[in-house]
Symmetry: D2
Subunit: 368 residues, 4 copies
């Protein structure tokens, strides 16, 4: 099977390149780059020297020679490549935001500043969060399919919230759906991409933490959309991103108001009741994700930590009840470049093509 | 004036040593250490070589030769030093948690596992957060006084919340006092002190972020206490601490439900109304802190960042309204070792002794 | 094939565990730990949860059920396990220093403070640096063999020096063998192991660089021994280790006096002659390593960088002539935990057992 | 006294701004910036908000209103400002390389690609390394003077070498002057300045170390020049710079061949003779620097470390003899932005104007 990557020299594209070159089903990789067209991938990423080498072609050449095409371009510039793939009959997995909003063009246009170029494509695309849409991806994959790969923050946030708002657990959801869900998230610097800028200049961001785009980050509507779909009800979300001095990882700390029947009485100090109720909720989370290959609900005593999922496709989740008894605190950790980007895209490919869902995604996280 | 430090070789003690040695009113510093008694401070901190040098004495010797005594001991071991100071007639500024709860022994005992040894001392002590208690510190300082210096997290959290719950602004507070206030805080590693442990082992905490003590950190009751005092009403607080790979700093991201009359309508996208209402709230914050020497309410477009207060006694604050229109998001940044510990203790000394409140605290933050 | 690890919970042991669990020829892994005997590996390394799980046995149980045994114990405590393996007829690959000095007990004893316990074992052991001893490892592997896996610093240093002192290139070596070879090396923190200590306490080593054990590090004699073997002549080495704030990696900057015939005349500024002569030497290095699967001689314009070999078994090498015309500067980069420890041990296993030398070592370095 | 800064918004300029605003003799600061002319310093450095505030003027306005002018411009663009200052009769302290080579225009032109614009200025300028030229600076300061402030690397390197090549110690120097002196130096990222670029992009340089400009860095001739002046003989220097993931600091590890009479016999293991001879050399270093306010020769057992001089104007030095008995290893640490740039410039101002040499430079280093 031949996999193609458009935009192979950005960070997400390079991670796709790295991971796909070790994928057991991928016999050949073809790469393209706008910025480095005519160059070679190992010149842009000298770490690949002698391992992954090859010419950087035009996007058209990639499309013409691939069985599946990944696109890791910036937002709002690559829709026509999706159209070309559909015409040629190959799956198109898009890591930009262009296909994350299905037919909701209004939200996309408001946040990304551009209308859909090929509106009909968006009616036939699918949002590629396997934990939400695996069945749909499988069913639709009989025809060439456009998959909108989720954003990094939305992945970590949604996975932490889903079990609390889902009806699937039977009975009423844990979450008081009338209250906004608060997502406080911290990302590593690779999320900012490969282009140098003041915000990611070592001397300006090392040894420091700061929020950015408070109340104005465009992953907000994507998160709201995901959890609303799971809840089958429009939910409100408050999302605050931060930048921390680390290369990889997103930690989301999520505050969910519990429904009346799930609350316990406030305690001055951690109590047995807190522990028992937390164990009950943890069981629900475990059950919700029991068949998921890449979600780990952590046992009591462990908190999500980005270095325990680094380089892997896992999402770790821990659940806690606050001392006030009325709020569920969920923490999730992902590697923003793997489960938050390239790894999830490959997971989608595996589902589309009927491969083992873990193929090519076996990297095991080490603490350092 | 002679200043004494008990526990001079821990991180907070060493910061006190460093800052006080440059304080224009301090003519002499006397130091003690349990762990290194008989040694010299420059052997423990070789960065002080040739600048700050001196024997590490017994605590008793420090008390006997000082005009004011700072104690940077662990919690629950130094109350008798406070008693000795009161007897001798010198001010005692305690950086441990021992005097942060006044006569509320029950809360202290629940969280710190020990009853008060000298209960009467706690009736005459004052909680040394100048922005809350400056007047009280001044008034009480005519007699020898025990000052309980605030915890690092409570400092950054309380300063972000005060204006929103205070009645002082006239009219009703910004905050819907019935809703819990959420404090999502991130600390640098120096908060963990000088003793090596797995959590602060470089290979285990570098390049990663994780929460710890979720729903069980003992700064929770201190924060709740502070903001309840300001609100003159018992408020609920949800506090989640995290550890980030940086030496210094605490960033607090605070979520406050707005009272009905302060809310605006939800917007799909950042709106003019959001900006205007935010400007109004920012003005209230500016007004609230207009006489504070160490609080900076940031202008529009800036977010609190720990590297912009590093090494200084400043607390930076930014205010924002969320897209849903009903939640105020406040971010605050302090240097955990300065405003969060040694600097604030010196600010308290300056108030106690009638010095210029900024004396010895003039360090200017540089971004790197 | 069953692989066993003694000392599986230290950093080197955990890296062996991680890498071997993905090795295509290893059907089963058995683990032991002195510190955590009776526990489980995923409790010590929660990143392994759901992926690598298993009981931590006694060392004896590991030896009895394995086809090859890796030992990642501290120095000078595990020799009897080697003896037990030889008796049982299984290969023993020792990551400690115990078998790095063959029959040169005097040097070992001087630096490691202990005599050999089983001197005869050391006569039959082999030093497992494949680039020096591959043939010997292959030949001896017909019988159970003790392999002394090289130290991290000696690996990066020796590979940078070998081509310059070898007679194999034909003609006289590049290096003026009468001058000491200077190795200035910088390591990441994982080299210090898993036990917390002041030197590796985040607040004490972050954002800083410092040398340690100047003129007294026990990798000095190992480096001298390696390059002397290659040169077939006793050479002098000056080795200075440093600690840098990074998790992984060793960078060695090596200064080698050129033999008269290789020198060029000094230039005020980089010259064409420098470039040409450097290209000539680079060719010699490339030729020397042309069959090595894990050594990359970098093209002109690239310098060795630890993030370009991170997580991989590669050693990157760049060569340069100094402006003075008489000194060759070689820089090498390895991942101290992979090529400098666990990866090289697996490379040795692959050679011993006739597997593809790259099996289990296919990780591709990404810059971040 | 009014101090002016040209180029106040680059990193060196901002450090000058920060330090001079706390200088007891500086009553007023006037700032200029090409990039941000017409803006305000606190907009460029929000950490200065409410502390250091002011308009960014034209360079001419700075020159016209200052008693001493600091220039922190890039190389080769500001010579005419020096000329203007000389005409106006104010001292000019240049932090660029333009006045570091006196009348040796050939070397300057070769490395900086430009001839002198005002050659006569270079005949009357002085190289501002106080430990080399204090007397000369003092003597010449009766007239307006151009001071060429040293480069960061040359400062740390030269201070480590001076005592070993000086004749001042009486008798023959320690150093075998026929052998090249090797300087292996590691810098933090602030040395790269404020402009974002790939090399200083967080994701590309964090958690990693690498050399750069091997055998081709333009601080090489400046170092060679300094130590040759001290030795009164043309010496050869080999200089290799590296970039480490830290904000501040330069560590230099220096290898100096000892003269025959200073050598000891090689030892297999650290010996008493090594220790004694090292103590003797350490005494010579201490003696050489006994009157220097900012050089600390470290006692036995300590190594130079950048976090022990961070934020200070100190240069720490440790001395060692290698096991081979013939090589002196010297390590030095400075803060590249203080002693390596802005601090040293202020030290020069203090000397020029007859202030206490430590004025404004009292910051005490803390390990974190």
């Amino acid at each position: 099977m031949v996999a193609g990557i458009i935009g192979a020299t950005g960070y997400a594209g390079a991670e796709l390149t790295r991971l796909l070159s070790g994928h057991p089903e991928v016999k050949k990789l073809v790469l393209s780059s706008v910025s480095f067209e005519g160059g070679r991938i190992e010149d842009v990423y000298p770490g690949f020297l002698g391992i992954i080498t090859g010419d950087l072609l035009k996007a058209e050449d990639v499309i013409n020679s691939s069985d599946v095409v990944f696109s890791a371009l910036p937002h709002a510039v690559g829709e026509h490549f999706a159209a070309a793939c559909m015409e040629k009959g190959v799956h198109y997995i898009d890591l930009s935001a262009d296909f994350r909003f299905d037919d909701d063009e209004k939200v996309y246009a408001a946040w990304y500043g551009k209308n859909y170029q090929f509106p009909e494509l968006h009616k036939k695309s699918v949002y590629g969060l396997p934990e939400l849409n695996r069945q749909k991806i499988k069913e639709l994959s009989v025809k060439p399919l456009v998959v909108g790969n989720p954003g990094c923050y939305p992945t970590g946030a949604s996975l932490g919230v889903f079990p609390a708002v889902s009806k699937a657990l039977g009975g009423s959801p844990l979450c008081d759906l009338a209250s906004p869900i608060i997502i406080n998230a911290v990302s590593g610097t690779s999320g900012g991409g490969r282009e140098p800028s003041r915000s990611f200049h070592y001397s300006e961001c090392a040894d420091s933490i700061a929020p950015y785009k408070v109340a104005s980050h465009r992953h907000s509507p994507e998160i709201a959309r995901n959890i609303s779909k799971m809840a089958e009800k429009a939910l409100q979300v408050i999302f605050t991103p931060h930048l921390a001095p680390m290369n990889r990882g997103i930690l989301s700390t999520i505050y969910i108001a519990l429904r009346e029947e799930w609350r316990i009485k406030a305690a001055m100090f951690p109590s047995k009741e807190m522990e028992d109720k937390t164990a009950e909720i943890r069981s629900l989370y475990e059950n919700f994700y029991k068949d998921e290959p890449f979600v780990r609900v952590l046992p009591q005593g462990l908190f999500a930590a980005t270095n325990r999922v680094r380089h892997s496709n896992y999402c770790d989740i821990s659940v806690h009840i606050d001392l006030n008894g009325s709020t569920l605190i969920v923490t999730t950790a992902i590697d923003n470049m793997i489960k938050g980007a390239a790894g999830q895209a490959i997971q989608n490919m595996n589902i589309l093509l009927g491969f083992n869902e873990k193929s090519g995604l076996e990297a095991i996280p080490m603490v350092f």
